[in-house]
Symmetry: D5
Subunit: 158 residues, 10 copies
């Protein structure tokens, strides 16, 4: 996937990744599989929200056939850490992303209550966290299944 308009606002190293991805006609699933990472994490890293390990950088250089210098600025070699979500408009206006936001609006208290009842006072971590997106097809149509999995962190009483 590639909206070059948004991508042109990313750091040039991220742009280089996207341009190579387009040239190779690879999906994120393709790259993730070759890299041994998961698809959502790889996509988030392409958008600059997750940092690649050196082995990821090395892998990408091979898979996408890019110049290592083109991505050095986002590699551990320069002690890179991302400034996450800094470009994200809130509330989101893109319809695909808005639906995720709407789920938080409509189910926010419900999810909080069930977490509290099942786990106690605390949160689902968004840091010690993984996600994935699956496609399911049945007689009713095609379904997007998003799985969010984070460690439960209980509030300390002190």
């Amino acid at each position: 996937m590639a909206d070059l308009s948004y991508i042109s606002t990313l750091p040039s190293a991220n742009q280089a990744l996207f341009h190579a991805k387009i040239a190779k006609k690879y999906s994120f699933a393709d790259i993730a599989e070759k890299l041994g990472r998961s698809e959502t994490w790889v996509a988030a890293a392409f958008y600059g929200n997750m940092p690649f390990a050196q082995e990821d950088i090395d892998g990408l250089v091979k898979i996408l056939e890019i110049d290592p210098l083109a991505v050095e600025a986002i590699s551990p070699a320069v002690n890179y850490f991302p400034d996450r979500a800094s470009k994200f408009e809130t509330p989101p206006r893109d319809p695909t992303i808005y639906r995720l936001y709407e789920i938080v609006l409509v189910y926010g208290y419900a999810f909080k209550s069930i977490i509290a009842e099942k786990f106690g006072d605390g949160i689902m971590s968004a840091i010690c966290f993984t996600s994935k997106i699956d496609k399911e097809v049945d007689e009713e149509g095609t379904w997007v299944k998003i799985t969010l999995r984070g460690k439960f962190l209980p509030y300390i009483k002190y």
Copy 2:
């Protein structure tokens, strides 16, 4: 789960449900099972974001031993439809709910891209949609697993 402060801002019928739930010491899982509904949907309906069917109302009256009149205002008998999310603060400040919002901030473009690559141009419906929350325990700790499942809706070309 019960934050009486927030609950006191809900319509009186919803308050009645919560007070009966507290008195019975039922969890949402308890009520959902007795009602034959899912836990997240029941919690959302308690908070006024989903409308009960008449059979749900009848079931709740029995399960929670409440006066049918106490919940009539949110029943199909009065042609009730909810005004969803009207009380929701944005961006959310409660930490448990904020983490869900942060996942949208950090993974928004990643999720959008993967939906686009796997399904084409469209969205995951937040209407034709179900959700659930599971608890998983392994050697690393306790995990919250949230599953969001919505129909894929492609944009029409016309």
Copy 3:
């Protein structure tokens, strides 16, 4: 129609389309007819809110006599998907667009109620959706008629 000021903020491929359209002195209706698409969808696609199919791209190249490379960045060939509405100011300040917004403000609850009464609990899809604009002239003057048509999506009870 062409406000070059706004257009200059679009990706260069969209700018190329607008400049060719101006040079040809084509209206959106002209292009839509030649392309076999509807006028509103074509206009939305010119502004970058809808993605052209490859056949649309091929058609545009011929109709507007533009270099295929000028629009490659928004073609399916590069797996393009738009980042919709990302440049849209809210609330809108342009008077023509504000009036549409004001209709939502003034009729929002009325429309919601009638949808609920006529269709049940759910929404009119903005994805599985078409629109058109007609001109009607009668003795009282000239009228703009906007037709919005979207699939009814009922909320699932689960």
Copy 4:
């Protein structure tokens, strides 16, 4: 349709109308037909966004069997004019209303351009304006059709 939570924030005269409507189990279509008005205008007037004429008030008193004093505060007898949209949250969070707003976000410039091309520099009036909502069923499903019709007002050159 009746979300008593929202309705409880309306002036008492409007609340009286809604309570009588619920008691009579009338839809807005029922009332509109008996009153000789259109459905969307009647719904907007119930929500306090349009003012009833004296003949409407007289009609409602009969149709809904309510005390004339209960609705006097919103009648021409007291020279009533509504304060439109004063309670409307922006951007809207209710999903049904949000979809209408999203259509403005996604199609705003497209609609503006087509109005400009077909009519010249001006707006579709939201005052000299009517609307209606139709239900259409075909083999693909059920469709909501919203028709917005307003006078074209050209900008004066002076």
Copy 5:
């Protein structure tokens, strides 16, 4: 004019004025003429944005036949000064008021430039200021004419 919903949020003294005005079926023009004040100033004072002089209070008590105690809280007798515009929503959503706001949006720089060219660097005072609204009818229709007149205040060079 009387939107009792908005009026119910005003201090009780202002509410008393409005209720008496409705009972007497007086327009603001009626009251202004009896009081020897201008119509717009009287309306602004009813809404709590201008303070009545003692002679105004005395006049209103007679004209509207109200208890002096009902309006004492907004009289000079208690050294009353208004907290102007504190209840005003911004940007305004009521269509009548919004049009005034839109004129500021569309003509703001034009008006500023012409003031600068005709008067020099400074402002039109909104304090040392009067306004009036006239009705003009010609063959093209009915026109609202709003006249804003304020002292020119030049910036000091020091």
Copy 6:
């Protein structure tokens, strides 16, 4: 008048007009008179909020002695329509413009009420609208008089 800082954000055609105006040392009144248009409309058009007719463009080319190509992008020749108020900050911070906005805040309800009482339920059009700014000098000082005149548009009952 010319704040080159703001002007530098306008489309280049508008910048060309301003630079020529400065070079000629013409006021908006000068240009308006030569063009046979009103001063406020001309200023608004210079700022890009009103579109010039072809005869205006032709006139400006002569009056300001500019290259027709320099202003072609805002001429009817390219089917130009302005994106009004898109650069306007809200609430306005410039003191001259803020005073106009403050008048809306302080007199909003007063003006709305008087329009309702004098004209009925409706608005003063900001489209079918003219404005002018006069200078008046009396013994008390110098006064700015702004006249806003728009067609009254009544709400339709349907």
Copy 7:
């Protein structure tokens, strides 16, 4: 000074102070002088933004002849500390207060620069701070003089 509308939103102890002040027809200057405090500090304390010392409370009880219990809730006896500015709307809309805010907008960088040049890198404390308002009359008119005096606090280098 007394805008009872705003005052009615203050804690009841503060309301009691204002009501007694009105009954006694005392200005803040009167009370400040009797109390041995400055006028601006006393006014800020009446509005709940500064806490009275026990001696102030004792003094006010005598000066205003109020019941000590009426003001106990804001006395040191209950370990009271104010929640400052919690009710303050931003940006302020009242014209008198807005002008102070506008001075910050227009002179913000100028004041910052001069403080930096005269004092070094740091701030004027708003805590270790006093203020006063004087009236000056000369041939040009009447002037408000506001003096703000705060300790200079230099940034530490560490």
Copy 8:
């Protein structure tokens, strides 16, 4: 004082002034004295919030030894008037400026009340206005004293 980061966002004429000031190592006090203006006004003019008179421009050219063309764009020769405060972020985040804003928050109602009591219903002008900043040293430390002095403008009763 010179934060080149902020200054780089100013029009080039203002940048030229700042660069010359740095090169000369002049403070605003130095320039103000040479120019015969006050320090705060000069600083505000450097930041583009006050317009220089022609004599000021001539003076600056000499004092700072700059090319007259470098500052022509902000001179009366081109009929320059500033667009005040257009770049100012609200609420301000710089701590030095924030403290001034906080004083408005904490003392807003107090200052308004005292102005009302001492002067009547009106405002302190921010246009017919001067300011100065003094440094005072005593045994308690160093104090910043800011004096704001503006004409009292009473509201007209009309």
Copy 9:
């Protein structure tokens, strides 16, 4: 400490705690010591941001001599979990709280960078977290020392 104005917006159980605390003239330090909890956690729990364990509730009933029913609504007996920070205004306006916020503004990137350099890519948990406030006095004055201590949570690579 007790600002009864803010406290009156809390749930009645929290209000009961504050009123008893005032009556007993206990500080948070007093209560924390008797309860065997830390001072900051106890204060946060009084404000409704942390939930008491049943042993805390039992302890408070004894220490403050309150009716157990008065605090039942915030006890584990009713499965209580707090809705954290729901009443918190942002950005904070109270000066004491604003300073903490300003530290985040001024040091945000510095703290993030040092956490990244010392710990790797991740966050300091605000859940698995403790805090304390100490008073230190030296020759330069009195110092507030706030210690924030949270578990480092590294982002997962997956």
Copy 10:
């Protein structure tokens, strides 16, 4: 640490520092130690929120082996003072920084209350202020300890 995306928005002198730091592979702790400053202050100065003394500039030139001219623009030689926090988004979206903000939301009133009880009415200075970040490891894991230490400033009674 180095997020080149954010850094590219800083003044070029700050960028030069970061690029040299990356080239040298120095951490902020390394530089702080060599410079004889604390780590958090140095990081804040790199991000442009604290000004270097001339000795710091001289030190950095040596430690980082950079051209003195590259950093002259932020040195005392040009009378540099920073415009603090001007680029900071609020509320912060980066998760590491958000957690600090969330601590203010959740503990704001608690911290304010304890400061009031322990110190009296006043604030912890954010100017006369130091901070540090320590790493602690115990059997439960790795902990981030942030220490904030500021002078207590009592409100003056005057």
